[in-house]
Amino acid sequence: MRAFIGSLNKRLYIGGAIIILLGWEVAARTIAPGTLPSLGETWNSLILVHENGKLWQHLPVSLARSLIGFGIGAAIGFIAGAPAAFNRHFYYLLKPLIGSLLSFPAVVVVMVGMVWFGMGSAVAIFITALFTFPLIYMSTVEGVRMMDAQLLEMAGVYRISKWNLWWNIYLPALTTALLSGFAFAAGTAFRKTVMAELLGSHDGVGYALAMTRFNLDTAELFAWVIVCLFVAAGIKLLLVMPVHKYLRLRNPPEGERSDWKNE
């Protein structure tokens, strides 16, 4: 359990979460009744979107889009990243492309995407792939660069076979890089999909969020925000934490990369 939250005090963590919920409830009842939905109203709304099928109409669409976009972006990122990690010239050749992709404001790209593809799935998948690509590319390059130099030297000294070198040194390094890249980029992929849907789609969680603004249904908005948080938690529990746990077994623990948003 220590690996789960590091140095954090689990009881205080839960306490903090309870304080947020309590503060929310109190604010909903006293400061802004009518504007801020209470916990009960939000829960009812969550049940409602589950029962009237909205949740099961929009959530799978968003998940499928982010998965497809993520897959495409990750594949291109890996295919471009592996050679760039081994060849410095290629790395510098790609640097302008990666640099500009990383500095693109997502919302502007969504607008360009809407001009190109119109409204629909294509925009969301395009945006997700476009923003997954540089993240996976970078973690592939970094992962290979951090490959144990001593191990490589030893491999050179003992003249181990090419096959052995690939199977026992290169391949594990690439796998590690890819896994940590996946863990890093998965949350981003979902957030990008939701953003693209909000502006340029007729279904998906992002569209549902936009509709709550249209209908002025605050309780439903909160319900969808909670759905988004559940997806983020699911990604963390099912992908990020197992990956980190697995990597820590193989590598000495190092500073964890902070998961900041790249908008």
Binding site: I20, M111, V112
Partner: protein
């Protein structure tokens, strides 16, 4: 010594040559693709530059730019003050850190657009709301880094201050402060680059009457792809100046300091 310097310079020159060819190829692909599509869909590099010049000379666009820049700076200063302040306290009090971790986790996990919608519902739309959302989204980055900076202060140095009975004030001024500033500077630039993108996104979704976000919405309604591209160039340039040039310079400077120190 000079031989080594020469080799180093040569290596750098070679790298920038590859970098420049990468840039050239990119522009070439853009130009080639623009030949196949109408300028309404994909404007050519020249058309985009032309549109960029129009933006730079038009008073309205310059006003949009300044208003957005003002929002970025306000949000950035606010988040640096609040994030560093709370971060330092959390750094010293691990219990507070645990207590605040859910807030941090929620702000990291929530899709930015969802937070923007929340703010619109609760506080309406406008300029202060844009600044608020942008600040909240960048907060975890500044806060988390400050906590880490306080935690990783040189243990040996601290132990020594204990042995020599150095006062708390001196310890704060001569050990904690330099250490936090040292690791915060690159991070603040990172946050600034992030802030530019987040503010424009918030402007587009919140709906403001002036600002780059507003200019983008108008360009999209008018189907003026070249204007969207021109604004994109402006933002990429700003972000590259912050994250590329400034960050690189500061990192180089800090690293030099570290080696000599």
């Amino acid at each position: 010594m000079t031989g080594r310097m020469n080799r180093l310079l040569k290596g750098e020159r070679k790298e920038s040559l590859w970098f420049a060819s990468g840039l050239f190829i990119l522009a070439g692909i853009w130009q080639a693709m623009s030949l196949f599509f109408s300028p309404l869909v994909l404007p050519s590099p020249m058309e985009t530059l032309e549109s960029l010049l129009n933006l730079l000379t038009s008073g309205d666009s310059r006003r949009d730019f300044y208003v957005s820049a003002y929002r970025v700076l306000t949000a950035l200063i606010a988040v640096i003050v609040v994030g560093t302040g709370i971060g330092v306290v959390s750094g010293f009090k691990p219990r507070l850190e645990s207590l605040l971790k859910p807030v941090q986790d929620i702000l990291i996990a929530i899709p930015p657009v969802a937070l923007i919608m929340l703010v619109i519902f609760l506080f309406g739309s406008g300029s202060p709301q844009t600044i608020m959302v942008a600040g909240a989204l960048v907060f975890p980055l500044i806060y988390g880094n400050t906590v880490a900076a306080v935690r990783t202060v040189d243990r040996d140095l601290l132990e020594m201050t204990g042995v020599f009975n150095v006062s708390g004030k001196v310890r704060l001024r001569d050990i904690y402060l330099p250490s936090v500033i040292f690791s915060s500077l690159p991070n603040i630039l990172l946050a600034a680059g992030l802030m530019v993108r987040i503010v424009v996104m918030a402007e587009v979704i919140v709906g403001v009457t002036v600002g780059i976000g507003d200019a983008l919405i108008i360009a999209r309604v008018n189907l003026a792809a070249r204007e969207i591209f021109a604004w994109m160039l402006v933002m990429v340039a700003v972000v590259l100046i912050i994250e590329g040039v400034l960050l690189y310079t500061i990192k180089k400077y800090l690293l030099r300091w570290q080696v000599q120190g």
